[in-house]
Amino acid sequence: MVEEKNRKIIAAFVLAFGTFAALIALYLDVFHREAQIRGGLLVIGLLFLLTGVRLYPVKNRKRMVNILFLLPLLAAFGITVLIPFVFGIFYSFTNWNGIKFTQFVGLNNYIQMFQAPDYLYSLFITFLFTVLNMTTVNVMAFALALLCTSEVRGKNFYRASFFLPNLIGGIVLGYVWQFIFNKVFPSLVKGSVSMLTDPNLALIAILIVSTWQYAGYIMMIYVTGLQSVPKDILEAAGVDGAGRFQTLIHMKLPMIANTFTVCIFLTLVNSFKQFDLNFAITNGAPSRILGAKAIASTEFLALNIYNTAIAKNQYALGQTKAVVFFVILAMVSMTQVYFSKKKEVEL
């Protein structure tokens, strides 16, 4: 009993000190005193508060631990995701300049955005790229997966080498490929110019790199799916005289339908969000003349948002584009949830 009393006193002291320190720090904050110590003081105060709460003997200890366990991650999540997200949607209706806003503009940003040819073009080219990339990545990945699950020798080496590009960051790879398109390809094909100088070929260039980088990853998901097909069923089919091709079409494909859904949505979302390669390989270049106006021909939405806000300093407009970007992705995700729910019901 005595021990508990001591503990209570210590905890109370710690709590009091923590509260005191935090309050002084907050006082300095609220009244805009530029004291250097206020940040450190606040952190120390909060640490003491937490220790005090942990030490203090209460009946419902479990509940307190729960709150203490959740708090740090929730705080980080709140200030990095939730608050900026809410503010972001709010700012898209104002004339925000990255620091402050002076008036509400209603839907003006949205109207201005959908009237800008460069944005509409970017929307179109992103959709086009997404569809193309989704197709090439999945076809390539599935072919590689078949290769890696066949009786080829040295499977592990092939798997690892197909997978490797996926581990290196898109920025570094983008610069490497810029070199390949600008120097290596023209030297292989004499008299040709860089693919990156032609709007259509530049898009194909990004497509090549994106497929190269991503196919190995999707391949591994297909490999996992293919390996989960029970061996005895395949053997039974073999005994019944089914050829390789027949077992593939009639047995393996239907059994890994779920894997296809996962891979297709994964590539869909990731192609749509492509930024790093786009930024490092072309950064939107070359320009294409559309109706007497030069438009960056390979600027996908993510890069368009970045350039609008950071390069052209139009924060409100960039933010508005980002909100639309989010809405499109949210719709894609809801479609995915709908599809997988429907499948579960069928099963």
Binding site: A25, R38, L70, L73, P84, R159, G169, K183, A322, F326
Partner: protein
């Protein structure tokens, strides 16, 4: 029998050609990092004449002001290591609380975490900068251009996915284990750290790899929060800032790319199986 052999040989050949093609960009980086600028102009695909040039180029790049390899490597390593440690610890704690306490609040919090996985970085990046700037001014702790800020940002962005993966795993752990510890007089936090936490190792590995690769390679977040020529640079930012100041000096750019790639390649060679498994499991969940 003969036809089978031909097919077999064909598959083997295709596999060799494909893996060579897919790996060739890495070979090109290696070859051209070992050439002088003039040699690259003559032929970018030729075998380098003198491998000694590789070390000359590398040392030029390492000591370059914009790149400062060791410094950016250390920054990248520090940010990744601290973010991952905290992320594993805090998301395990949160996921455990959310699984073991079925209340309306825990459901709401979990739903918010799951729903937030849809939010793309682009929609929060601009307000994030202003929120962090505002917070810094308010509490007097640097959030932009500082390790504190970027680590908190990675906790926030990595948290939801990590909690989601861990949540699914903890649901499968029998409650009786914890109850036994509880009856033996173990405190709630003791139960978590001594009983539950060690059981989470396999799935924490997945979380570690998934977030580790992403944080190490991330460009947009550090470039916005730390600046392209700020005090602290991560490796991808350093490469980008180097390329910006040495336009078309391919020998040096490729040497920089080589240096940026090599840590990941070494890591991959050492822990190939775990890395592939971690990334694939993360995707399927």
């Amino acid at each position: 029998m003969n036809r089978r052999k031909v097919i077999h040989f064909g598959i083997q050949l295709v596999a060799i050609v494909l893996s060579f093609t897919i790996l060739s960009p890495f070979l090109l980086v290696l070859f051209n990092s070992a050439k002088k600028s003039a040699d690259i102009v003559i032929s970018p695909i030729a075998f380098p004449r003198n491998w000694g040039q590789l070390f000359i180029n590398l040392s030029n790049v390492i000591h370059n002001q914009n790149f400062s390899y060791f410094k950016s490597f250390r920054s990248s390593l520090f940010i990744t290591a601290v973010s991952l440690t905290l992320l594993i610890l805090l998301s395990s704690m949160s996921a455990w609380v959310l699984v073991r306490n079925k209340t309306r609040w825990s459901d709401i919090i979990f739903m918010v975490f799951v729903a937030s996985m849809v939010i793309p970085f682009q929609v929060v990046m601009l307000p994030l900068l202003s929120t962090f700037r505002g917070l810094s001014d308010f509490v007097g702790i640097r959030f932009l251009s500082s390790y504190t800020g970027i680590i908190i940002a990675y906790l926030g962005f990595g948290g939801s996915m990590s909690v989601f993966i861990l949540h699914g795993f903890i649901k499968g752990i029998p409650r009786e284990l914890e109850e036994a510890a509880w009856i033996d007089g173990c405190s709630p936090e003791g139960t978590f750290f001594r009983v539950v936490f060690p059981l989470l190792k396999p799935v924490q590995m997945t979380v570690l790899i998934l977030n580790g690769i992403w944080i190490w390679n991330d460009y947009l977040l550090p470039s916005l929060m730390l600046g392209l020529n700020g005090r602290i640079k991560t490796l991808p930012v350093a490469v980008s800032s180097f390329v910006g100041s040495y336009v078309k000096q391919w020998d040096l750019i490729l040497a920089a790319a080589f240096l940026a790639m090599i840590p990941v390649i070494i890591l991959f060679l050492c822990a190939q199986k775990q890395i592939i498994q971690g990334l694939v499991e993360g995707a399927i969940k």
